[in-house]
Structures are given as C-alpha cells and as structure tokens.
C-alpha cells in the first residue's frame, strides 16, 4: 500500500489520551518537495499530529514512515537526525544566546557529548551560519541576543535553526501567528523559497496565507481527515463548510 516515493507516509495512526481519541485512524501522505498545509478547528488534533511525527507523543497504533523507514518508535533525536525538523507554536529559541550562537548550536555536528566538547566553529560552520542568516533576513542581527528580537524575527530564527540541519521534512506550527502584515509577506516568500529543496507541513489558520503558500490542503476534524486537495477544492467542500468554514 505504501508508496516508496512519499517522504512521509502515515497509515491508520491512532492516539488516545485517557480514552479520548485525539487522532483516529488517520492516513496522510506527503510528496517530495510538497508544501502541505493542515487546517482545522481548535482541538482537531493538528498539533498532536506533528507531535506524533516528531516523536514527542507516542502513537497508540498505526504507522509513520519517513522515507520508507518506520519512525513510530524511534527516539526523538534520531527522528531529527533522520531529517525531520519541527518548529513549535510559540517561538522556541535560546533567548540568552546571540543569534549566531542559536544557529551554531543547531549545526548538525558535535551531537554527542564528547563531540560537543571537541566542536570547533570552523569556517565551514561560519559560512553556513551566514548563509542561513541571510536566508531568514537576520544577517545584520547576528550578534544580537535572541531575546531582544521581535516576535516575527524570533519565528524566523527558529526556522533558521531548523534550516541549519537541512531537514528533508520541515514541520511548522502556526509560523505567522502574531506577525504583522509585512512580516507575513516576508514569511510567505521565505517558505516558498525553502520548500524548493524539501517537503513541508505547515499548520495555519490564516486562509489568505494558506491560499498563497499551499500546494495542497488537508482539513482535520476530531482527529480525522475531513477533506484533502487544493485550496479551492476544500473551500467548496460541503463537509468542510459545515464543520469549519461555516461556523
């Protein structure tokens, strides 16, 4: 059943908290270099789905395959090393460190205890940090303490930290929440740029933004997939209008 071409293949995934099924026999397939947006009302299980993929929450049943490898029981850091990056809903960066250090820590080298002890900031690392900083528009702020950045800049920094790891699948949880119109604009451009080299899953509420970036949209409701397809298609889906857009 599973297609080896998919970056991510989720089949019959189920998780329950004290009997409440947050995700219920869900199937989802993501193509290479696809930017998928997941929408749905609060409590639909969107964030839980991301948690399950990156290993933060453990599934009660079903399978998650990343590039045809089963990752359902894999340790979190191994899933990351396999190539899955995850951005959290609220910006999760190291506020006390500079932008440069934030990016440096995310560089995928010296990941063992003693490796980290021996890690040197080589020219290769510096070059990569500058490249990523340019990508996310923070090059001028490299030596600023991250806690002093604006909310939007923090979101970008976290995306930048993920880019340092060059993930093949990047998952973003509401990346533009709390951003100004201008910042949304820039973020949309950023996402479109970076998805050329990788697949992405984005959770978002802002329909304008979704329309702009999505290749395909998945609508979730009560732990299940309600509809899937292009933005136009799901927006005209009667079920979706009923449970979500109609409200």
């Amino acid at each position: 059943m599973s297609n080896t071409d998919f970056v991510l293949a989720i089949e019959d995934l189920t998780v329950s908290f004290d009997g409440f099924k947050a995700i219920d026999t869900l199937n989802l397939y993501i193509d290479r270099e696809e930017l998928r947006v997941i929408i749905g009302p609060n409590g639909a299980g969107k964030t839980t789905l991301l948690d399950l993929i990156c290993g933060k929450t453990r599934a009660s049943g079903g399978s998650i395959k990343f590039k045809n490898t089963e990752i359902t029981r894999m340790a979190e850091h191994k899933i990351v090393r396999a190539g899955v990056g995850r951005k959290f809903q609220t910006p999760s960066i190291y506020e006390n460190l500079s932008v440069f250090k934030n990016l440096e820590v995310s560089f995928p080298q010296g990941r063992s205890v003693f490796g980290a002890l021996r890690f040197k900031t080589s020219t290769e690392v510096i070059a990569r940090i500058h490249a990523v900083a340019e990508e996310i528009g923070l090059e001028a702020l490299l030596h600023t303490e991250a806690g002093l950045l604006s909310h939007g800049q923090k979101q970008w920094l976290e995306i930048g930290m993920l880019l340092m790891q060059e993930p093949e699948l990047l998952m973003l949880d509401e990346p533009i929440a709390g951003m100004s119109a201008r910042e949304r604009e820039l973020t949309a451009e950023l996402l479109q740029r970076i998805c050329r080299k990788r697949s992405m899953i984005v959770i978002e509420h802002d329909m304008e933004f979704v329309r702009r970036i999505a290749h395909k949209v998945t609508v979730m409701h009560q732990g299940k997939i309600l509809a899937e397809g292009s933005m136009d298609k799901v927006q005209n889906d009667a079920k979706v209008i009923d449970v979500y857009l109609g409200h």
């Binding site: 409440f20 947050a22 933060k56 850091h77 190291y94 506020e95 021996r118 890690f119 976290e158």
Partner: protein
C-alpha cells in the same frame, strides 16, 4: 598591560583571578595554620559547590545527594590511608594485626577482597574520581533515559543518600560504621597532621580547586556548555535539534559527582577522617545551600558562598551559641527571598550596574564588564516551569 587586561576580559578570568588572589595569597598570609586548615576544609566543599553550579545552575538538574559522592571520594582516600595506618606493627595489640582496628573489633580476621586494591595509591586516586562517577552514571543513566526530572530526580537522589548511609552504618565491620574511618596519619610515610603538611595540602587543595574551576569555565565555553545551558532553558528545542538530552544530563551529573569525589578525598586528607554523616541527607542539602548563597550560576560565586556560609557558621556558633541557628536560618531564607541568584547575582544585578553608572557619570567610556559566567539577564525560573500557557493543556 592593556593586552593582558583584554585577555582577562575576553576569557572572563577576572573572578577566577580574584579568587586565586584570595585563597592563594590573602588567606595564607593573614591566617594562622589552624584557621587556614579550617579554610582548607571549607574549600573541599567548594568542589561540591562548583559541581552544583555546573549541574544545577548551568544544566537545571538539582541533586540532593551530592554528599553521597563527596563521601565516596572521601572513603576511597580514607581506605588507603587507613590501610597505611594499620601496618602489623602499630596494630600488634589486635587479635589480627595488620587489618584496620574496626575490622578487628568486628571479628574480621582478614581484609575483605574489595579492600585489597586500596593498598595502591594509583588505584586509590583513580577510585576517588571513578567510583563516584560510576555510581552517578548508573543512577543518572537509568533516571534520565526514563525522563525522571526536576523534583522527582532530587527526591530520588535523597533516597539514594539514605540507602547508602544506612548501608555504611549497618556494615560497620567493613566500613567503620557510624564512627567512620578515623585516626588517619600518614600518606606514603608523610605525616599529614604536621603543620608543614597542612600548608602543602592547603595549597594543593586550593590549586586543584582553581584548576577545576578553570576546567569548568572551559567546558562552559565549548558547545557542550552552550548546549547544557540551552537544555536547561528549552529542553524540547535541544531534543528536537537532534541531541540526545539524556546523555548530556548524564554527563553533567557525572561531572558534578567526580568533582564532589575529589573534594571528599581532599577533605579526608586535610581533616584526617571520613564519616557516614557526610553521606546523609542533611549535608547534601547544606551543600546545595552553599552554592545557592554564593550564586548557582557563578563558579567563583559558589566557592565564595561556600566559604562565607561556613565562616558564618563557625563565627556565629562561637560568638552567639544560643542564636546561631536563627542567624543561619535568616541567612538562607534571606538569600533565597532577596537574591535568588545568590551573592554573585547581587553583584551582577546591582553592584555592576551601579559601578557602570558611576563610571558613566565620570564620562569615561564603559568597557564591557567581565561577567564571570553568564549574562545577568538569565532568570532562575526555569527549574520547573509551571504550566503558564494554554497550549500546555490537552486540545
């Protein structure tokens, strides 16, 4: 001269140098050998304190069982010294000469097998570091892989301290029981109780402590140090950047244990005995308080705090025998309430800005003050985040 100054600033060695000046020059010059020996004893607790700075302040893991590792290091050293003190000639009045006196009292007629290697100084010195580290590894590996954290970890370390102290007291035939291992005299024939030996041991201890602080500063500056700090504040982010956080926590715990073990061994050498009262819960908590008073984020601060608390205890208990516990209690509560980052935090948040303001008002350019450890803006609230955001709740 200026280049040296910048070098010191760059490497944030100002605090370390000040501490070195204090314990290598000022104290030995100003104190008689009795008081100096006392300070030597306090400095051995300093090893535990810097371990706690690395473990608690820097990595966010509170251990209430550091006394266990201090005790183990001390016991290893004490076993070696006791064997040396128990040669067949000085123990000829025993039923079995040549074994430690407490074994003889407990009808042991031969040295237990696991005591044998402690005839060797090399083995002993290795054991001083490795025995605490190994135990720390076993505990922390099991705990952190199972994601035990915060208060729960602290309470488990307490239970470990309790288990070990009951065991040591209960197995008095091979451990010396509640009296500990006492009456230690010589190290390779060198009388450790003479004044000259005390001076040498004091300086060895002080030098070793400064070296350990320097080593910890170096670790703080590597990527490992950055990661430990990052892990304390945003454990999830570190984990989802591809790091196995459990391994890093194990490292921090083992490091703190090794440092404590060294401190214990130095204690045995300078004080001349080791007792299970160190392994228990009360000394373990007191050691946390030493670090807290000095500042859990500052290596130098924690050592200074250790010295101050112990000095305070000696002074108060000599001068105000009826009130000294109130004074200590007030000190602990006061520090926690008013200066959560300890005396070092006070320096960073009040004194340095004040100095900077004064300097600025004199129209002199302000150089970046050499903060010994971490930026002052770090808040100590990350120990156990309460659920503060709505996202933490189930959907």
């Amino acid at each position: 001269m200026n280049t040296i100054k910048t070098w010191i600033h760059q490497h944030q060695l100002g605090g370390l140098l000040a501490l070195a000046l204090l314990i290598l020059v000022i104290l030995p010059a100003g104190l008689d050998i009795f008081r100096l020996n006392l300070f030597g004893k306090y400095l051995t607790y300093g090893f535990v304190s810097i371990g706690l700075v690395m473990l608690w302040g820097h990595s966010g893991i509170l251990s209430l069982g550091q006394g266990v590792f201090f005790g183990l290091g001390g016991y290893c050293m004490a076993m070696f010294l006791k064997l040396e003190a128990s040669d067949p000639i000085s123990t000829r009045i025993q039923s079995t000469p040549g074994i430690p006196d407490f074994m003889d009292w407990n009808q042991l007629t031969a040295l237990p097998l696991w005591w044998q290697p402690f005839h060797s100084l090399t083995f002993t010195l290795l054991a001083v570091v490795l025995v605490p580290t190994l135990l720390a590894f076993c505990i922390s590996f099991a705990m952190f892989k199972r994601r035990v954290s915060g208060v729960y970890f602290a309470i488990i370390t307490q239970a470990v301290a309790l288990i070990l102290s009951v065991l040591i007291i209960g197995q008095q035939g091979v451990t010396g029981g509640v009296n500990g291992i006492t009456d230690l005299k010589t190290l390779l024939g060198w009388d450790i109780r003479s004044n000259s030996a005390r001076y040498i041991l004091y300086f060895a201890n002080a030098g070793l402590l400064l070296a350990c602080i320097w080593g910890c500063m170096w670790i703080q500056k590597t990527k490992l140090g950055t990661l430990l700090l990052a892990m304390r504040d945003k454990e999830d982010r570190v984990q989802f950047s591809g790091y196995d956080v459990a391994n890093f926590k194990v490292f921090a715990f083992c490091l703190a244990a090794a440092l404590s073990g060294i401190g214990g061994a130095m204690f045995t050498l300078q004080v001349g005995f080791m007792s299970p009262s160190f392994v228990g819960i009360i000394p373990s908590i007191e050691m946390v308080i030493f670090a807290a008073v000095g500042g859990r984020l500052s290596l130098v601060g924690a050592v200074v705090g250790t010295l101050l608390v112990n000095l305070g205890r000696s002074y108060f208990s000599e001068s105000f025998p009826d009130l000294w516990l109130f004074l200590m209690a007030a000190l602990f509560i006061g520090v926690v309430m008013a200066f959560p980052n300890g005396l070092a935090g006070l320096l960073d948040s009040h004194i340095k800005p004040w100095l900077a303001r004064r300097a600025a008002s004199r129209q002199t350019p302000v150089a970046a003050t050499g903060d010994p450890v971490v930026p002052a803006s770090i808040t100590p609230t990350q120990d156990l985040p309460l659920p503060t955001t709505i996202q933490a709740q189930p959907e």
